[in-house]
């Protein structure tokens, strides 16, 4: 715990009776192993910040609470630990909303603490009062309102337990200011008391056997894996299953890195902007094995036309995910790693040469590609970044075209490498998420591959990177457009470019104003040198790369179409 002499709750084992709520809060966070608390102070949390003043807990101040929440999220996704964030009541809490919803959609374990007005004032429209538990209920895994100091320690423990177990997610603990000032007086009950919370582990062996039998009988099986494989640490088990059955593997956006893309069995990403060979393989599959994925509409396209020939096996820890979007033939509820390991025992080693011949042919006919002519192509920037960082960097992204190019062209090798808002699609996620990841991975190369639109939303957090001298590289693919919306207007709205032109500041000067290094790259001849210079610089760098403004992302499955009806672009 702590070695501070004046800390009565530390190693002295004097219990919690004579500690203030704020001191109990500090003790609990240390006990939960929180290394970094992200956040922003304010009136209702001053008692907590008073204790943080001489706590060993590292506090990182963001420039906006949304940034703090994404930092905690990026920290959590990149490390596998639970993120922690604190904000004050009212606007502090409401500024967290986008960050919480982002984490909720992508099952990211984090605990958010919000200040609340004095318990007697709750409901009276007091200064900086908001109904935080009411507002956050639909976008969190669970939330608590603490009005009595006796409940605080236990609730913090419960919050961390809920956030990280089962299908992880964000939990909010809203704390009335008097509960941080008061002392319990006598020893409070500290053991979690959650009779309704029973996260599933393990898995039904009978269902695993049924799944194995279906795969053994299949000629064209495909593994379709998502973020659940990352969360359960099932990468090795996945590799073993794929190898033994010679089963090709396609990943969702959140599943990128769970299966090394240099493996011949890799089909890379599927879905709206997935590879042609992944989408064709799914459509031709006779047995689709979904693991820790949830049949999102960006993955399935037109749902009635999705994997029409396949028997569908769905492995997921969340029973509510199963048969929610697609009727499943063999549901297997449980932990991905455990189930894949059991599945391996019942799986027959098979070569399936005809299936691999077919896939090899698709790969040859329809590789991911772009025309490296004209201005700098965003795809070549991503590809080059992949090479220069040996495909080993942690990469955060915003949302839009650049996100899809990052997904398609970086070359993913290992889990927890990509940090991206898949479910909610939160622009502005990349910059703060990269900063959070760098705090969790001090020695690692951390990139934010961003777009000019996304980056503009939260670039104020570069100041946080400067303050802590973090070597994060913010690579902004600047096309002067909100590119993905422009692409849809190009393809589906007769090029009526409505509100997508996006005049940007000089990002180099902005970076320098913030105290970071700024680099602008305008020509292909400057690209490699510019990126190398950025990667070598020991501090934060913003690299603005002027890219071809009207490049589109392909392949593309238009909304409402089946995966096999994808548009391969001009190069098909």
């Amino acid at each position: 715990m702590t070695d501070k002499k004046d800390d009565p709750g530390g190693s002295g084992h004097r219990g919690y009776a004579d500690l203030t709520g704020a001191q109990i809060f500090n003790e609990m966070l240390l006990e939960e192993g929180v290394e970094v608390l992200f956040g922003f102070p304010g009136g209702a949390v001053i008692p907590i910040f008073d204790v943080l003043y001489d706590s060993p807990l590292k506090f990182v101040m963001s420039r906006h609470e949304q940034g703090a929440c994404h930092m905690a999220d990026g920290y959590a996704r990149s490390t596998g630990k639970t993120g922690a964030v604190i904000a004050t009541s009212g606007p502090g809490a409401t500024n967290l909303i986008t960050g919480l919803a982002t984490a909720n959609m992508d099952s990211v374990p984090l605990v958010a603490f919000t200040g609340q007005v004095r318990s007697q004032l709750i409901g009276n429209d007091a200064f900086q009062e908001a109904d935080t538990t009411g507002i956050t209920r639909p976008i969190t895994k669970h939330n608590f309102l603490v009005t009595r100091v006796e409940d605080l320690g236990r609730t913090v423990k419960e919050a961390f337990h809920i956030a990280r177990t089962g299908r992880p997610g964000p939990v909010v603990v809203d704390i009335a200011v008097d509960a941080t000032v008061n002392k319990p007086g006598r020893e409070p009950a500290m053991e979690p008391d959650l009779p309704g919370y029973k996260p599933r582990g393990g898995g039904h062996i009978r269902q695993v056997r049924a799944a194995a039998a279906a795969i053994n009988a299949a000629d064209h099986p495909v593994l379709y894996v998502g973020g659940g494989v990352v969360l359960s640490g099932a990468t090795e088990a996945l590799r073993a299953v794929a190898q033994k059955g010679r089963i090709p593997v396609t990943t969702t956006l959140l599943g990128l890195g769970t299966f090394d893309e240099t493996d011949p069995l890799s089909l890379r990403m599927l879905g709206m902007h997935g590879t042609a060979y992944a989408n064709y393989a799914v459509q031709e599959s006779d047995c689709l094995v979904a693991v820790g994925a949830r049949f999102d509409d960006r993955v399935t396209g037109k749902i009635e036309a999705f994997a029409p020939k396949a028997k569908i096996i769905h492995v997921d820890i969340d029973p509510a995910s199963i048969s929610k979007n697609v009727p499943v033939d063999i549901p297997v509820v449980g932990d991905a790693k455990y189930i894949l390991e059991k599945l391996l025992e019942h799986l027959e080693a098979k070569e399936r040469p005809a299936w691999h011949e077919q896939i090899a042919q698709w790969k040859k006919l329809y590789p991911l590609k772009y025309a490296p002519d004209g201005g700098i192509k965003p795809q070549e920037v991503v590809e080059l970044l992949g090479e220069l960082t040996r495909h080993d960097a942690i990469v955060a992204t915003g949302v839009g075209q650049h996100q899809m190019w990052a997904a398609q062209f970086y070359g993913w090798r290992r889990p927890r490498q990509i940090l991206t808002s898949g479910g909610l699609g939160t622009m502005g996620y990349g910059c703060p998420a990269a900063i959070g990841a760098q705090f969790g991975n001090p020695g690692a190369t951390v990139l934010d591959i961003d777009g000019d639109g996304s980056f503009s939303m939260t670039m104020g957090e570069v100041i946080t990177a400067v303050q802590h001298d973090l070597p994060v590289k913010f690579i902004v693919l600047d096309n002067g457009y909100l590119g993905m919306v422009r692409q849809w207007q190009d393809l589906f709205y007769h090029k009526r470019y409505s509100a997508v032109a996006h005049p940007c500041p000089d990002f180099k000067m902005v970076a320098e104003g913030f105290g970071a290094r700024g680099i602008r790259i305008s020509a292909r001849s400057e690209l490699a040198d510019g990126l190398n210079e950025a990667l070598k610089h020991p501090g934060p760098v913003v690299v603005a790369v002027e890219v071809e403004p009207e490049e589109n992302v392909y392949p593309m499955v238009a909304a409402g179409k089946g995966l096999h009806e994808m548009d391969l672009g001009k190069l098909a």
């Binding site: 209920r137 639909p138 809920i162 009779p195 309704g196 048969s323």
Partner: protein, 161 residues
């Protein structure tokens, strides 16, 4: 199709909001939702009547189970159960029609719990269709006001119990 679902929930502030919010956010339709105390002071019992096909019912059950403060969920599909709904209804019944209304109430095993010059308050409990049948027959006399509790339900005992 109508489904009756029972949920035991922790007796805590905010639980009703969690459950009601989930139904609203996921677009499930509720006919009625009843909350009451149980023999255990830590637990309340919710009875929910929802409309949808079997897949919707399954989703409702799973989504309810996911709520941290929901301790146990049962649906009454494929089991024999007793359901009761309690109704108070003010029926227009001036002196010349009163005996006819009272006859009707007796026939339905209801009770007259208040009498005034122009109307009666009738208390009646039973399955929903019984109450609805009474309301249909009482309508010609004129219904002034109607309040129902919504359905509560309990699985019937088996030979083994």
């Amino acid at each position: 199709m109508k489904h009756v679902i029972m949920a035991l929930v922790q007796n805590q502030p905010g639980v009703l909001a969690h459950v009601a919010g989930m139904f609203a956010a996921r677009g499930f339709n509720i006919d009625s939702l009843v909350v009451g105390r149980t023999e255990d002071p830590m637990l309340s019992r919710m009875t929910i009547v929802a409309v949808g096909d079997d897949r919707v019912l399954e989703q409702i059950r799973k989504q309810l189970e996911k709520i941290v403060t929901v301790v146990k969920v049962r649906d009454f599909q494929d089991v024999r159960y007793v359901e009761r709904d309690l109704m108070l209804v003010r029926v227009h019944a001036p002196a010349e029609k009163r005996s006819k209304v009272v006859d009707l109430v007796t026939l339905f095993r209801g009770r007259v719990v208040d009498v005034s010059r122009k109307s009666l308050i009738v208390e009646m409990s039973g399955p929903e269709d019984k109450l609805e049948a009474f309301v249909d027959l009482a309508k010609p006399y004129g219904i002034g006001e109607l309040a129902r509790t919504g359905v509560i339900a309990m699985k019937r005992g088996t030979q083994a119990d």
